[in-house]
């Protein structure tokens, strides 16, 4: 399969989309942007390749239906989960190795007791891993840092209690090691990993189906996926060694991606981590004009992040909580920091959290409305994209404000994949380049592991603070 790759390097997450030569989406991947954009874009792209292979796999698995395997959908799901588990275990092994190195280099802090306790923590994490992925419970995050972090802290807390140690004695090696591990690019042997995952879950299948299942898994694992064109966009695009010709503005990409999903789109509202864009596009998805926030990131995703921190909530919990509100509290502050202060003041006055949150969502969307107006308003069909469109309260308020300002005959679109619109637009530009015979490729330098280790070896000038 030949694919065109689009990567969108956001301030919070990095997204990749693969499309085939007909422009059909074949894979998508997302990862946290870390402090290393190069690694983030390579990881997102690897994720997209993985997802493309799984899409291929899903189609082939359909063929098993006649061979006694009835629950194909469930099998596919289970295989994906098992694959994630294998990846997690690989990465966990790398983390364990790195933690061991960090402790070994730490001098007096790395006592035998600490070393032994850490070994115990990692044993537990390894044992618990299977239930995390195959247990059927939803995870809050798919990013290694988040899953491993939560598992580590959980195990460390228990172990510290059991052995009468201080929790902090056990957490510092993790904090030092996680950054190295998540910014290290590992080569993924897809076929081998998928093979292991398949064997882990194939137990219940009838013999004939099992044989066919392994054949399919092996064929998908080795199916070549050739990247023939690349284009990059997003906040971090300037810091990457992309060839200039392969870099596209995120405004163009978001406009085009949104139009690709909803061809009737004439206006796009994109609210990302640190900027908001109001974009007008023509009937071909080409941007005709746009407005962006300037100087101030109030009214962007980070605003919600800040509020979530203030309330000790997860970002994904804000929308559902705000939806429970019966009356919206008016928030006057346009500045994120002042809104935080206003939030505390309202809470102390006895207002309900959900009502204040409803007010904060409205405050954000009012800013977006002003940007929309500056860009020329909303004429027929508005598509909402970016991380914030995953928040149901934000979309609800937007719908209300659009009704109020532009009338209820405006179509408002959002797509579960809205966060990928920028990457999709970039992939489409890559396809244009390919067709014009000007394709670029993303070459990622795999870092020199030895050099990295030397760099990351902790300098123990501070170890004496304990």
């Amino acid at each position: 399969m030949r694919v065109c790759v689009g990567v969108d390097l956001g301030s919070t997450t990095t997204k990749a989309i693969l499309i085939d030569e007909e422009g059909k989406i074949v894979g998508k991947g997302i990862t946290n942007s870390r402090s290393n954009y190069e690694v983030a874009s390579a990881v997102a792209r690897d994720e997209a390749v993985t997802s493309a292979r799984f899409n291929l796999l899903a189609r082939k698995l359909e063929g098993l239906k006649g061979e006694g395997a009835t629950e194909i959908g469930a099998l596919d799901e289970k295989l994906r989960a098992a694959f994630r588990l294998e990846l997690y275990l690989d990465e966990l092994a790398a983390l364990r190795q790195r933690v061991t190195e960090v402790v070994a280099a730490a001098g007096v802090r790395g006592t035998a007791q600490v070393k032994d306790a850490l070994a115990g923590i990692f044993d537990r994490m390894t044992t618990d891993a299977s239930a995390l992925f195959l247990g059927g419970d939803a995870r809050k995050s798919d990013f290694f840092r988040d899953i491993a972090g939560a598992a580590f802290m959980h195990a460390a807390e228990k172990l510290a209690n059991e052995r009468g140690m201080r929790f902090e004695e056990l957490t510092w090696p993790f904090d030092r090691a996680i950054l190295d591990v998540e910014t290290e690019l590992r080569e993924l042997d897809f076929a081998a990993t998928l093979g292991r995952a398949a064997r882990r879950i194939a137990g219940g299948l009838p013999e004939g189906a099992k044989k066919r299942f392994f054949e399919i898994v092996d064929s998908v694992g080795t199916e070549p996926i050739d990247e023939v064109a690349f284009s990059g966009t997003g906040y971090g695009r300037q810091t990457l060694p992309f060839p200039k010709a392969a870099v596209r503005s995120e405004i163009l990409c978001h406009g085009r991606g949104a139009h690709r999903y909803f061809p009737g789109t004439r206006t796009v509202l994109d609210i990302g981590g640190q900027d908001t864009k109001a974009i007008q596009v023509d009937d071909k998805g080409v941007v005709t004009t746009f407005q962006m926030n300037d100087r101030c990131a109030a009214g962007c995703g980070r605003y919600l992040g800040y509020i979530a921190d203030e309330l000790n909530l997860g970002l994904h919990e804000l929308g559902p909580l705000a939806l429970k509100s019966c009356k919206s509290v008016r928030i006057n502050s346009t500045c994120t920091v002042f809104a935080g202060a206003e939030l505390r003041e309202r809470l102390s006055l006895g207002e309900e959290r959900e009502d204040i949150l409803a007010g904060l969502h409205k405050a954000i969307m009012l800013r977006a409305m002003s940007l929309l107006a500056r860009s020329g308003g909303v004429k027929s069909e508005l598509t909402f994209t970016g991380g914030v469109c995953k928040n149901d309260m934000a979309t609800k308020v937007l719908r209300e404000l659009v009704d109020e300002n532009y009338g209820s005959d405006i179509t408002l679109n959002a797509h579960p994949d809205s966060i990928y619109m920028g990457a999709l637009g970039a992939a489409m530009f890559a396809l244009d380049d390919l067709r014009a015979g000007k394709a670029n490729l993303l070459v990622v330098k795999r870092p020199d592991k030895q050099a990295m280790k030397n760099y990351a070896n902790p300098d123990d000038a501070c170890a004496s603070c304990g």
Binding site: G23, K24, Q238, L252, R260, S408, L412, R435
Partner: protein
């Protein structure tokens, strides 16, 4: 406007704009006209530094609606606080000057030219060439559309305790200059401005001398107009915005009416003609700019604190300014106005009434529309500065109206004159690149076909 050629490190044979790594490390070559301008400025500041010993009188005044020829006829030396402020911005000093003024009680929202000037004054009044500026004998307040000018000179009056004479120029609200408006300005020249100058210098006005000045102005203006119009060539031999602010240096400031100015503009025109003959673009900080992918018209002043950085953002993308309104703030010669030696006072009135800052929004739109069409521009860009409310107000309306009239898309960026805190490089660069890529995409039109996937609609559609 720039009186000092700063950082124009271009050279012939440098990598073309847009090439990777266009940093220039080879020795600097400057056009002869640029060298001449630099010399003229140095001499002017020398004259200012010894003005008191030489018995010369000094007037502080503003660029829009300036009465340079009249001052020249009295042999008074002009100091232009706006230009000092922008020079301080280019030399990286404005941030500290503005802080100084803010410590003195000026709000963050006060015009940054004013605060920069006040800060410079409070810290020794050292001019751009390193020499101390003389105190004014007269504050000549030409009022052309900027209310802040009045407040600014009220502040300077406090500092210097010297006479202020105000020339009130009526605003062209209806886009025309009536005979009554003209007469009103001429009357003020006769009853207020000239008597005040006569009193300060102890000389009677010599009308013949004024006419000679005006005749020289006219010659320089003729040459400048030809320079502006040269941008109709492809490639354009000039950059009509970033390069343009160097070109307007002499004529909008202390030199109009002088032999020096005539020599400068004639030399500049000859250089431009030479480039047209060779099919060559102008010098930019990134080298000679022959790769001209986008022809833009620009509205609004540049950000002086990041002048070269801002310019490079254009040159690196192959964008050249073919015309700009900012380079017309000190006179709209390309729209036909010339100083007339036969009618010295009337012509000064016409000049003041006609300057860009004194024009209404509709006539600014008309002018921009004309430029977009006459210079066959691919796009236009508005740099909206925070400092200047009277100038920036309505610019979004200008943008929409121009898009409607010309079908050419516009871009909008925000920065400031000399307050470095308001220049967000990443933000401006992002907008500019997005805009230029948008022009490119609209031009090429060859996009991969879009096949929609099943949509998911929020909310109800009745």
């Amino acid at each position: 406007m720039s009186l000092v050629t700063i950082g124009n490190k271009g050279l012939k044979g440098a990598p073309p704009a847009g090439a990777e790594g266009s940093a220039v490390t080879v020795p600097v070559t400057k056009d002869a006209s640029q060298q001449r301008q630099k010399r003229m400025i140095a001499e002017h500041f020398d004259r200012l530094s010894t003005a008191k010993e030489d018995g010369k009188k000094v007037a502080y005044t503003f660029v829009p609606g300036n009465l340079t020829e009249l001052m020249g006829a009295f042999e008074m030396l002009p100091v232009l606080p706006e230009i000092n402020a922008l020079q301080s911005g280019m030399r990286g000093k404005s941030g500290a000057y503005i802080s100084e003024a803010e410590r003195g009680g000026h709000s963050e929202d006060v015009c940054s030219y004013v605060k920069c000037d006040i800060g410079m004054l409070r810290t020794g009044n050292v001019g751009p060439t390193g020499k101390v500026l003389p105190k004014p004998d007269l504050l000549l307040l030409s009022y052309t559309g900027c209310f802040t000018f009045m407040k600014w000179f009220e502040l300077l009056k406090e500092e210097y305790n010297c006479p202020v004479v105000m020339l009130h120029v009526p605003y062209q609200a209806d886009g025309i200059i009536t005979p009554e408006m003209r007469q009103y300005v001429v009357d003020q020249l006769k009853s207020d401005v000239i008597p005040q100058m006569e009193q300060i210098t102890g000389k009677k006005l010599n009308l013949d001398k004024l006419s000679e000045q005006l005749a020289r102005s006219r010659r320089a203006e003729d040459a400048l107009v030809k320079v502006w119009e040269s941008a109709k060539n492809k490639p354009s031999p000039i950059d009509g915005y970033f390069g343009g602010v160097y070109y307007i240096g002499p004529i909008f400031s202390a030199f109009r009416g002088s032999e020096d100015a005539v020599a400068y503009y004639e030399e500049l025109l000859a250089e431009v003609n030479e480039r047209i003959k060779d099919g060559e673009g102008p010098m930019t900080p990134a080298g000679v700019m022959n790769n001209q992918k986008y022809r833009l018209v620009v509205e609004g002043p540049p950000s002086w604190t990041h002048f070269n950085e801002f310019w490079n953002m254009f040159s690196n993308e192959g964008a050249i300014a073919v015309a700009s309104t900012y380079t017309r703030v000190g006179g709209l010669y390309d729209q036909g106005f010339r100083h007339d030696p036969q009618d010295p006072l009337g012509t000064l009135a016409d000049y003041c009434l006609g300057c860009y800052t004194n024009r209404s929004l509709p006539s600014r739109i008309d002018l921009l529309e004309k430029y977009i069409k006459q210079y066959s521009a691919d796009g236009f860009l508005i740099n909206s500065v925070k400092s200047c409310n009277s100038f920036s107000a309505g610019q979004l309306m200008i943008l929409r109206e121009l898009e409607k009239r010309t079908g050419v898309p516009g871009a909008f960026v925000e920065s400031d004159l000399v307050d470095p805190r308001y220049f967000g490089k990443a933000n401006i660069e992002n907008r500019l690149q997005s805009y230029l890529q948008m022009l490119e995409a609209r031009k090429s039109g060859a996009l991969a076909a879009a096949t929609a996937e099943k949509p998911f609609v929020i909310g109800s559609n009745p």
